[in-house]
Amino acid sequence: MRNEKFDAIVVGAGMSGNAAAYAMAVRGLKVLQLERGEYPGSKNVQGAILYADALEEIIPNFREDAPLERHLIEQRFWIMDSMSHTGIHYRSDDFNQRRPNRYTIIRAQFDKWFSARVREAGCTVLCETMATKLIKDSNGSVKGVYTDRTGESILADVVVLAEGVNGFLGTRGHLRETPKPDSVALAVKEMHFLPEDVIAERFGLTAGEGCVIEAGGTISRGIPGLGFLYTNKESISIGIGCLVSGLAATMEKPYDILDAFKHHPSIRPLIAGSEVKEYAAHLIPEGGFRAIPQLFGNGWVVVGDAAQLNNAAHREGSNLAMTSGYLAGRAIADVKDHGRSMVKANLSLYKSMLYESFVIKDLMKHKDMPRFLHANCQSFFVHYPKLMSQAAQSFVRVDGTSKLEKEKATSAAFFKARSGWGLISDTVRLARAWR
């Protein structure tokens, strides 16, 4: 391998790396992909919801053999305080379509499958191999990578950095900054196993159907964060993600927060009696549009989580990763087909394709959300959830108090906790950030 030169090296065999490697290999490029894990997926953690649309664009017939768990027919959004939840449930038989829109998956299995497709397309995949450093020439152009297999150097016209949220290669190669504590969330997650029919019964599902819960509120103890529970075929993925800066400031233990979430009276019965088979942790990029680094340069492009392409407001990441990887791969193949070199000016094609796609359009739409939620975390993760619970309880409980009195007490409680102006300005600013 030492004297071989590749058209492209892809660092990482996660969602973005596989999409990029696939896009280039099917176009006939000579591609090498490096993965530090024992097998693709062995280092990766996700909730995980797969958005079919992004994958369908790349592998249209993926439903024939991809390891899919359940297709989603119901989504629950919960606001929680310590005893209760107030929620919106959306369930529709429309989601039982021939080609469902969203599925749950198990990343270790899914990544292995995706990687097999990448190999079939003609890419050389080397696992248990870490890229340790970028090779640059005297002008700073990237020419290849060193690996930890006897320090071997491997050369290529272009390096695709698909190395995930920590992205050491690119940060140590001074292509972008290390993620900041307030632009990443730490997620901890457990896999709870239960028989298929028990899961179906508890969530009101029939074979193949799935349900997901996203939950926010006092469970994250005033730290911007969210809990999630996703139904797989024979297991439930349950986890919670909290902003790293918030954890450090409050010195909260992430596993304590997860345990409290699991023991919440609304969650506990859903996972009771399950057997836990794995405990995992991973970071999620939360910085949004404003945290996106330089996306390309001489001899390199960056895709997926490494480029902070993650839509925390909508809990989407893998689809942005796949789409960015796929577009980068296609852009590189286009540059190559025109006989051009992999310099910055030519690789800017990737950026223009990305800006045309939903990836940047969506991130731009929510560019003010991260800042807004961080600045108002006490309101959104402590006060409002409590008030919401009190209001719902007062509405539901029949205790001889007149309805008018109840309404007055509820609005008085809202105004007391957050002055009238605070409430109004929170609403306006939330609407603006969401717009």
Binding site: E38, K43, I106, N166, L186
Partner: protein
């Protein structure tokens, strides 16, 4: 219906698969007299409880259960308080599900 059992982190990590690279810890804490607030926070925030406070008030690390999340790198990498890298290719945590 069986209740959910509260587990210690050590027991949680016991469920996981690891290939430990003997005598080659991938993270180390630089010598210090007093830990900075971020370094001290790692004793609480690290999801694998790798960081501990010794009886002299300094932070130490045992990387065996590390989940390779990168939280400590994000909190303490830039200040040089810890040195961080991933384990060698193939070593470290091996998620069965992820």
């Amino acid at each position: 219906m069986k209740a959910i059992i509260r587990q210690r982190v050590e027991d949680k990590l016991y469920q996981n698969r690891y290939l430990v690279d003997p005598c080659r810890p991938h993270i180390s804490v630089r010598k210090h007299v007093f830990p900075s607030p971020n370094l001290l926070a790692l004793t609480q925030v690290c999801p694998a409880k790798c960081y501990q406070l010794n009886d002299r008030g300094q932070v130490t690390i045992v990387t065996d259960g590390c989940l390779e999340c990168g939280t400590c790198w994000v909190l303490c990498g830039a200040t040089g308080e810890i040195s961080w890298k991933y384990p060698r290719g193939g070593f470290g945590v091996l998620f069965k599900f992820g």
